[in-house]
Symmetry: C2
Subunit: 102 residues, 2 copies
DNA sequence: TATTATCGTAAGCCATTACTTACGGTAAGT
DNA sequence: ACTTACCGTAAGTAATGGCTTACGATAATA
């Protein structure tokens, strides 16, 4: 399971902003850093974490590295959500009933 | 946006295990700690974080506190996913085309 | 009332980690 | 060849955060 990498990668606020930015539109590292309150190396480090988690991919364009979101990465998150969504619904419904006569 | 709390809450591995456990079946704090490699106070702290993030709720049963997953919490995650899912799909498709003729 | 069971919180410690600056490396331009 | 643009990585620092032990509080029980 890559759940651990994926969730912890998205767990950081700044890093999630990086992901959201490249999801909206693929961008280069410098361009990303320009729109964020952290330095360019910091963005590079965040992108590495996101890449290791399978959430982004990059391609070279001259000296620039264009990063883009990787849909398959979110698919894992989707699978996790689907499962615990139904679990939560069932257990919550049962819990409400228990709370009523308790 | 409670996204920050939600993602950072689910970002920790142990805390996610706590959530998954109560999602499968509502349980008391002590019972949760018995199935995890951490102490009971640690579980309490995790449950507080999950509660602040709107992911769990609890009800009293004597001295015991029964925690249950809160579906609406996952609904927020679902909403986030739906949005960046489509964004990622579009930008990724466009990126593949750009990479082809680049 | 005294005891037991269950839990939340405070204090402190330690590991993780996010950030910055400095450096080296590759590709395009002159 | 030299300079410029862009980027990844290393090193070091500051801070965040997870864990444990200790304590106090509430509710059921005898």
């Amino acid at each position: 399971m890559a759940y651990d990498n994926m969730f912890s990668a998205l767990g950081d606020s700044t890093r999630r902003q990086v992901f959201e930015a490249v999801a909206e539109c693929p961008r280069a590292v410098g361009d990303l850093a320009a729109d964020l309150p952290v330095s360019r190396p910091a963005v590079s480090q965040h992108l590495k974490v996101l890449s290791d988690a399978g959430l982004v991919v990059c391609r070279a364009e001259g000296t620039r590295r264009i990063y883009a979101a990787r849909p398959e990465g979110l698919a894992d998150l989707r699978a996790w959500l689907e499962r615990y969504w139904s679990d939560a619904l069932e257990s919550f419904a049962a819990e409400v009933n228990k709370g009523r006569d308790a």
